[in-house]
């Protein structure tokens, strides 16, 4: 296993006009890990993922994938699951699989077909007829069928039912190569924390915590989900008095 970080941020800043989405972020993510990027909506999670994927350019500072700025080489080793669907509505499963085969040299077609079969997704199925849950599963199958060094999953379990979620989680656990790292951005923490090695908390564009899950549980005596709720608690006006601590 290589020992340089697969992802590194050095004083990374991203502005959208007057709004700062990421503010001087310094972060190193090692290999062979599953890492959760956790933060409320609008905290900068997606921006970080998009920067890592080369879809956005930093305003200041650097983001490095395997020591290099995102570019042609990083596209080879990064497998990205966007938070939106991106298939043409006219496509059938077969077309999507062909597209991936053509596009990515490290795409394991046989593996993708096998996983589709377990899911009972047939090659003739048109993408537009799929439920949201099935579509999410298909996208994940494709992304995880690439033999990549870094998997970037942006909100992989948002809005799917519990059965689909269990499938997605076990797919994540079972289908990455051992030296690969998976970065999952989500605000649905309780569902996902037991599969994570490390968590990164992002708040208002800053990294406020980066630690292993077991360290947090040991030090704080609570789950990541509970800690998250405490650290990111927002109080509605006038609510202060009414709340009570157990």
């Amino acid at each position: 296993m290589k020992d340089n970080p697969i992802l590194e941020c050095v004083n990374l800043t991203k502005d959208y006009g007057a709004m700062t989405a990421l503010d001087n972020v310094n972060l190193k993510i090692g290999r062979g890990k599953i890492v959760g990027i956790l933060g409320p909506n609008g905290s900068g999670k997606s921006t970080l993922i998009k920067l890592a994927n080369g879809l956005l350019k930093p305003t200041d500072g650097q983001i490095l994938i395997d020591g290099q700025e995102p570019g042609i080489r990083s596209k080879e080793i990064v497998s990205y699951l966007p938070d939106k669907e991106y298939f043409g509505r006219w496509m059938k499963v077969r077309d999507v699989i062909n597209l991936f085969t053509e596009f990515y040299s490290n795409f394991d077609r046989a593996k993708a077909l096998r996983m589709c079969e377990t899911l009972r997704i047939s090659e003739d199925m048109p993408v537009k007829s799929m439920s949201k849950g099935t579509l999410e599963k298909l996208q994940l199958v494709l992304v995880m069928s690439r033999n990549a060094e870094l998997y970037l999953l942006d909100e992989p379990i948002a809005g799917v039912d519990p059965a689909a979620r269990d499938f997605i989680l076990s797919t994540i656990i079972n289908n990455y190569n051992e030296e690969g790292t998976i970065i999952i951005s989500t605000h649905l923490i309780s569902d996902i924390e037991r599969i994570l090695d490390e968590v990164v908390f992002i708040k208002d564009g800053r990294v406020v915590r980066h630690s292993t899950v077991d360290q947090i549980r040991e030090q704080e005596g609570k789950s990541i989900d509970e800690l998250f709720r405490t650290e990111f608690r927002m109080t509605a006006p006038g609510e202060e008095e009414a709340r009570y601590d157990w």
Partner: protein, 125 residues
């Protein structure tokens, strides 16, 4: 089915305890082969590094043995299995004692309770 885990404690010790219980209670028999990390991680629905850590601990305790060729097996050491079983039982008793203390019962009262409860169960007389 994901294993039941306590949210407030690190995950690997809980996995280790669960596997210890399974070993001493014969779910995995002495000398027989032990499932792979990958397999167990999937069953527990935890990540492989976590499972690996739990297994490493079981190995250093001697409960699970890694053979270069044959993978992992459960120990044949009956004495070690018996000690482990007793230790788990002690920990369980300590937990109950503490809980009952919180409810205001002394150890003697607890013993009485246990005896009468046991009597009810077996429907004596």
């Amino acid at each position: 089915m994901p294993w039941n885990l306590d949210d407030s404690r690190p995950i690997w010790p809980q996995i280790k305890e669960k596997l210890m219980k399974d070993i001493v209670s014969g779910v995995y028999r002495p000398g027989e082969s032990f499932p792979t990390v990958r397999d167990l991680a999937e069953r527990a629905c935890v990540n492989r590094n976590t499972m690996q850590r739990a297994l490493s601990e079981l190995e250093s305790d001697g409960l699970v043995i890694t053979n270069r060729t044959a993978g992992r097996t459960v120990t044949n050491d009956e004495e070690l299995l018996m000690t482990t079983r007793k230790n788990l039982a002690r920990a369980g008793v300590a937990r109950i004692l503490k809980e009952m203390e919180e409810l205001g019962f002394s150890a003697d009262e607890l013993i009485e309770l246990i005896i009468s409860e046991k009597g009810d169960d077996s429907n004596e007389g």
